[in-house]
Symmetry: C3
Subunit: 150 residues, 3 copies
Amino acid sequence: MNDILSTQLFSVYALVLIAEALKTLFLGTATSVSRLGPMQFLNQEDADWLGGEAVSADHPTPARLMRAHRNSLENLLPFFIVSSLYVLSNANALAGIIYFITFFVARLMHTYAYLSKKPMLRRNTYSFAWLATILTGVHATFVIASRAFF
Amino acid sequence: MNDILSTQLFSVYALVLIAEALKTLFLGTATSVSRLGPMQFLNQEDADWLGGEAVSADHPTPARLMRAHRNSLENLLPFFIVSSLYVLSNANALAGIIYFITFFVARLMHTYAYLSKKPMLRRNTYSFAWLATILTGVHATFVIASRAFF
Amino acid sequence: MNDILSTQLFSVYALVLIAEALKTLFLGTATSVSRLGPMQFLNQEDADWLGGEAVSADHPTPARLMRAHRNSLENLLPFFIVSSLYVLSNANALAGIIYFITFFVARLMHTYAYLSKKPMLRRNTYSFAWLATILTGVHATFVIASRAFF
C-alpha cells in the first residue's frame, strides 16, 4: 500500500478528487446563497427568519445551481468508487492518469457549461466524463476479475 | 494492505461496487435520454436547442427514472462507506461476502422493481439492501471500536 | 497501510463515517415512512397498493425529511472523499481528529436543526461542517502536493 501511496497515479487521483469534492460542495453552498436574491426559500422558517417568501419550487437561479450541483454529485460518486478501485487494483498508471484528468477537465467544463447555459458543450463534456468513468470501471473490473479468477 | 487486496472479500467488494456504480451512472443517463421522448426539458436552453418545451416538472418517464436513480445514489453512498470500512477493518470475510452479495442482488432487483412498477418487490428488495448496509456498518463498528478501545 | 489502520485517527475517521452513513440512510427511510401519514405517494403504484393518493409534490413532512436527507448526502460525499484522502496522506493526526469530530457534531446538530425548524442553528452547524470539510481538503492537498512535486 505504501507503494500505491507514493505513485504519481495516487497523487493525480487524490488531487482530482479533492478538487471535484470541493467544487461540488461550493455548488451546494451557491444554491443556498442564491436564494437570497429572489428571497424565496423552500423552508417556511427561513422565509420567516430572513423576511422572504416560502415557495414549493425554487426560483430559476437556485434551481439551475441545484441541478448543476446534483449533476456533480451524481457523477462524482460513481467516479469516486471506480477510481478508488482502479488505484487499489494496481492497474496501468498512465491509462489511469489519462482517465482521471479527462474526467476532471470535462467535469469542470461541464459546470461552466451548465451555469452559462451552453447545452452542446454541456452534453459533450458530460459524455467525456461519462466515458472516462466507464473506462475506469471496466478497466479495473478486468484487472480485479482476472486476478481473482485466473 | 497487500493482504487485504488479495482476498476474496476484496474481489467481491470491488466487483459489487463497480457494478452498482456503473448501474447508477446509467440510470442518470437514461433519465436524460428519456426526456427526448416527450421532448420536455428542465433547462430552457435544451428546449431551444432540441426544439422541445421547457417545463418545471419532468414528464412521468424521466421522473420515474430519476427517482430510481436518486434511490440508487442514496443507498450506494452509505453502502460504499460502510463496506469500505468493513474491508479495511479486517472483519470476517464470509459474513462480508454474504452482506455484499445480498446488497448487490437486492439493489439490482430494486431497480427492476422500480422501473417495472412492482411496489411490493421494491419495498422488499429495498429492505434487504438496507439491512445488509446496517449489518455491514454495525459489524464494522464493533470490530473497529473493540480494537480502538480494548 | 497497517500503520494507518492502527492509528487513533483511523478509528475516529471510521466511526464518524459509519455513524453519518447510517444516519443518512435512516433519513431516507424516514422520508418514505412519513408518506404513510398523509397517504400521498410519488409513485402511482404505491398509491394503488396502499390505498392513498398519487401526487407530484410531497406532503410537507416527507418533503422536509427529504431535504434534510439530501443535505446529508450532499455534504457526506465531499467529506468522505477529503477525509479518506486526509487519512491516506498521513497528515497530522490531531488536526484530523479535530476536523472529523467538528464535522460529526455539526452534522448531527444540523439534522436536529433541520427537523426542528431552527434556521439559525441550521445555518451555523452547516457552516461549521462546511469549514471542517474545506480545511480537511486543503490540508490534505498541501500534504499530497508537497510530497508529489517537491
